[in-house]
């Protein structure tokens, strides 16, 4: 069940990854192979089997609703590619 360029472009848009035309060309056959691989699962009878999200039956741990972490701005903000006055800069979104 191969995907065409339109399908791949739609996926790329969902994933927020810009794909160049030559990437699309090489992705199509590779994607077809991957889909063939995962297609094998369709033949497995799984009626009545509960989906398993996690191998160990763990319970969600809770903690007291208290502040446990200090302000990390001074540590984290210098990592930003563009920052000004404590704000992360992005291209203009509002005219």
């Amino acid at each position: 069940m191969p995907l065409n360029d339109t399908d791949l472009k739609r996926l790329a848009r969902l994933a927020r990854i810009r794909l160049e035309p030559q990437e699309l060309a090489s992705l199509a056959p590779q994607f077809a192979g991957i889909l063939d691989l995962i297609q094998q699962l369709q033949a497995v009878p799984t009626q009545g089997i509960e989906p398993l999200a996690h191998a160990l039956d763990l319970e969600q741990r809770l903690r007291a609703d208290e502040v446990t972490e200090a302000d990390g701005r001074a540590l984290f903000q210098p990592l930003a590619p563009e920052m000004e006055q404590g704000l992360y800069l992005v291209p203009q979104v509002i005219e």
Partner: protein
Amino acid sequence: MMSIDLENTSLRQLSQALVTRQVSSRELTQAYLDRVQRLDATLNAFITLDPERTLRQADDADARIARAQAGPLTGIPIAHKDIFCATGWLTTCGSKMLSNFVAPYDAHVIERFNAAGTCTLGKTNMDEFAMGSSNETSFYGPVKNPWNPARVPGGSSGGSAAAVAARLAPAATATDTGGSIRQPAALCGVSGIKPTYGRVSRYGMIAYASSLDQGGVMAPCAEDLALLLNTMVGFDARDSTSIERPAEDFTAQLEQPLQGLRIGLPKPFFAGEGVSAEVQQALESALHVYRSLGAQCVTVDLPHSGLSVPVYYVLAPAEASSNLSRYDGVRYGWRAAQAQDLIDLYERSRAEGFGPEVKRRILTGSYVLSQGYYDAYYLQAQRVRRLIVEDFKAAFAHCDVILGPTAPTVAFGFNEKTSDPVQMYLSDIFTISVNLAGLPGMSIPAGFGAENLPVGLQLIGNYFDEARLLHVAHRYQQVTDWHRQVPPLARL
């Protein structure tokens, strides 16, 4: 002048030498740094070195030893996979996306090793975001296999495996999502262990597929791994899936006899199909050794194990597409220079920052999670995952450990599998089911195939049975010397 043989001295012996002041941590660490300097131009096992920082830690360790406050690993240099955040160290995860990311905090694993007084020797090369089985997806270029630099070291922890194999480091941390510790350990001829899911905290370990990712470690022998796990394993509230259990000494039962051990041999792992003759032969010899040590072999069935690769390539990409959505070019990491608007900034930053394999997996994940496919792929894969887990539970009713190949073949050549992603994915056919089930698994050296390339033996344990796995591996290593073989290149 240091008089320690760096090729075959165990961590316990190194520790002894440090505590008795036969050698200082600075001398030992410098000796390893010298080896890296000499050999890593060929191997490319390290992404980042910072000798000054490393030697400061060595000096701290020497001071601690002088105060008689040394622990079993104090003063020992350890290489860390570049997936673990370490304060002040460039932490790239093998990606251009994080090529400018200097970690502002320590992963739990790094905290533990720092507290134990080890020195960070450097950050090791890896497949980009741990997605790969050959190290060819690293933005920093592939690592070479020390046994033959024309062959891959395996992946994704290829840098850690090559560094230990060439004795550039006495041990190295690693992570395993579908085989990323065991497969490179096998291909490079070292020992490696992936503990039970949840044993080692994922805090500060850059996420790929969170329900499968597990930190672990590589070293020449099982006894070393036991010492390292004593430091690495432990509860951490910052990882919501971290397991709370009483502390365990993984070295405690190493010397017990093996008499009566039941070794399960899964039919699908020995069916011949896909397992090369040289791997098959090494397994037969290993079984002979185990029988002579008093173990019995029983056949077990893992009827759904053939589906583990397709299950994995639904679930892991699905989790990856979600985890890697954090890379947006805004808060940290790579940012495209020109963008017209915010969406364009995301799309260009991610297009430039991610390599082809990472893009393929994010797109696959987006596909299986998208409307109309979620039930057919994602939920179906989760159902089959349960069948795989049930298979293992049934098998462990009849045996104590499961034994099989780690990888179907010895190390393959560069570019041999890069054009067909599915061929590459099948390199992990024997390791993936262990991650899906969350079980502990190991690989230990078990011989050599054609052209003197190492063969790995996989041992799979029941939940929380790391001590037994290490015991089973250690007894084998007491009567064999595959793990003591060092590649000729390491002697240059």
